[in-house]
């Protein structure tokens, strides 16, 4: 091979490596999750956060992964992320729409509602959006082993907040479960509870304690180990 050819080959190979590195960096940065900012919505020390958990998510490259969504407080659109921001020393009124069916808790201790204001949560079942099923009920324990009642959990371990997420009516879920994410129809449970954010700022991870990663060893992989699905961060701002 002649000298010019060798130099040209070297330059092409170098350029290919640089281009690959740039692509990886841009791809990584470009795929970072959005943070839904609830801090501007806080008023008189209270902020309302709305989320939903779905049996699938058809908006990502992993359509068979269960996933949480967070509602944008301004547009009311559902954002496929698990990062949200709330102010410090504020009462967070959580509303979570549970569209996914039941799975028993690996440790049934998580059936107990912990760390919420008043020590409980309220559950209202719906046949579909706008059509309630029975009356709202208050729970301090939602036993996932005595019936088909719990789909997932919402837990912020460092704040000692552990809340089981009620699943929809089983018969209705089996016949007409939501099949497109984010869910806008179908049987679901609306779970409401409140907790206080700490006085200090920081990042507080939250997670689901049901091993719900279907297709992975004991359900512990995939969405259980990936930000944007069944785990996330609560950013507490000043």
């Amino acid at each position: 091979m002649s000298l010019p050819a060798r130099i040209a080959t070297l330059l092409v190979a170098f350029a290919a490596v640089v281009a690959g590195a740039v692509f990886i960096v841009l791809h990584y940065l470009g795929s970072s999750l959005a943070v839904v900012n609830y801090s501007p919505e806080a008023s008189a020390g209270v902020v309302n956060v709305v989320m939903q958990e779905d049996p699938q998510n058809t908006v990502s490259s992993e359509p068979d992964w269960v996933s949480y969504f967070i509602q944008d407080p301004n547009t009311k659109a559902w954002v496929h992320t698990t990062l949200f921001q709330v102010p410090s020393n504020t009462r967070v009124n959580m509303t979570i729409l549970g569209y996914d069916g039941c799975t028993p808790l690996r440790n049934n201790f998580w059936s107990k509602v912990q760390g919420t204001i008043g020590g409980g949560m309220t559950v209202q079942q719906f046949k579909t959006v706008g059509k309630p099923l029975g009356q709202p009920r208050r729970y301090s324990v939602l036993n996932s082993w005595s019936n088909c009642t719990v789909g997932h959990t919402f837990a912020i371990p460092s704040l000692h907040v552990f809340v089981p997420m009620a699943s929809p009516n089983t018969a209705l879920f089996n016949s007409s479960a939501c099949g497109t994410s984010p869910c806008t129809s179908g049987p679901h449970a609306v779970i409401k509870f409140s907790f206080m954010t700490p006085k200090t700022t920081g990042t507080f991870r939250w997670q689901c304690f049901v091993p719900c990663g279907g297709g992975f060893l004991d359900g512990n992989g995939g969405p259980m180990q990936t930000l944007g699905f069944m785990m996330g961060n609560m950013e507490v701002s000043a």
């Binding site: 049934n108 201790f109 082993w145 091993p211 297709g215 004991d218 259980m224 785990m231």
Partner: protein, 317 residues
């Protein structure tokens, strides 16, 4: 190597050189004595993991003793090295060979005897320090060899799950908490297990560390000796939030512990938490929930919905 000296005149008495061995010994003995005094009186009281439990105290003592033994050895190497650099370095104009070296039976025998004594002493010391504090706070497996005597042992089950430790107290109705509270001056038996992957229960200030394996009851003992707080960390890489798998605990007075435990048990009994928990066992198979069989059959649930995902459902990537 040798100092540059003019050759002695024939018949003149040879000038005696300095006794290097004695010099090195004297320098070393002074340095070693100072170092060991500093280790014992200044360093030892502040060594980790502290003196919160019997196992922690023994670990602190062990580190101090090993420090006492290691410092003279290390200082001897440094002293010899420094002395050599200063006294036997190459000097300008000195092109002579060094003196010939011959074997020295006494030195060789002393070296072998000395190292043998050190190793055997470390073996005996380590064995005693493992037995006396009932396993030294380490996980002894499901059939521990060294156990605390007496019947006053508080049983605490440590359950690992991605990514949180919880604690069950079988002597208090099998209640479960996210907090680890312990009474002071009481032997504790930790029964460490896991519900999913391998974790490791590391209560640093307690001097307790035991792997949490699914389906295994790994027992570790300690006896509390001080009031105060401690941290619990997972020390086995267990997933994306392994680094966040930690919480804190407290050693409180026996009266405070009794009040807390009985109150918590009563609250959990009233709320139905105790009824929801499985009967206390030394290990759990979380994929078997007998209560659910009839319920799910009645509801007509089949397939993955309502059941645990098995290891290969639907495929193991």
């Amino acid at each position: 190597m040798a100092e540059s000296q003019a050759p002695a005149a024939p018949g003149a008495p040879e000038k005696a050189g300095p006794n290097h061995g004695m010099r090195i010994f004297l320098i070393w003995i002074v340095l070693a004595l100072v170092a060991d005094l500093l280790i014992w009186f200044l360093w030892y009281p502040h060594l980790p993991p502290g003196r919160m439990t019997e196992s922690a105290r023994h670990q602190q003592f062990d580190i101090a003793v090993l420090g006492l033994a290691a410092a003279p050895v290390m200082l001897f190497v440094w002293t010899y090295f420094g002395y050599t650099l200063i006294n036997w370095r190459h000097r300008d104009g000195d092109d002579d060979d060094g003196p010939p070296l011959f074997g020295h039976t006494g030195i060789q025998a002393s070296w072998i005897a000395g190292t043998a004594v050190i190793v055997l002493a470390a073996f005996v010391f380590g064995t005693v320090e493992l037995i006396v504090p009932d396993g030294a706070g380490a996980g002894e497996g499901p059939n521990p060899v060294w156990k605390p005597s007496g019947s006053n042992v508080l049983q605490v089950q440590v359950i690992g799950q991605q990514w949180q430790f919880t604690y069950r107290y079988p002597q208090f109705g099998g209640m479960e908490t996210t907090q680890l509270l312990l009474p002071d001056n009481r032997p504790i038996a930790f029964h460490v297990t896991s519900l999913d992957v391998i974790h490791s229960f590391w209560a640093y200030q307690l001097g307790v560390k035991a792997d949490a394996n699914p389906g295994v009851d790994n027992v570790a003992y300690t006896t509390t000796r001080q009031l105060g707080g401690f941290t619990v960390r997972c020390s086995e890489l267990c997933g994306i939030w392994h680094g966040a798998m930690f919480n804190s605990g407290q050693v409180v007075t026996p009266a405070a512990f009794q009040a807390w435990a009985t109150t918590t048990e009563a609250v959990q009994r009233r709320q139905g938490v105790l009824a929801a928990l499985p009967p206390y066992a030394l290990a759990y198979d979380p994929t078997v929930v007998p209560q659910l069989g009839k319920v799910y059959a009645k509801l007509g649930i089949t397939g993955a919905a309502g059941f645990y995902y098995p290891p290969s459902d639907p495929v193991t990537p």
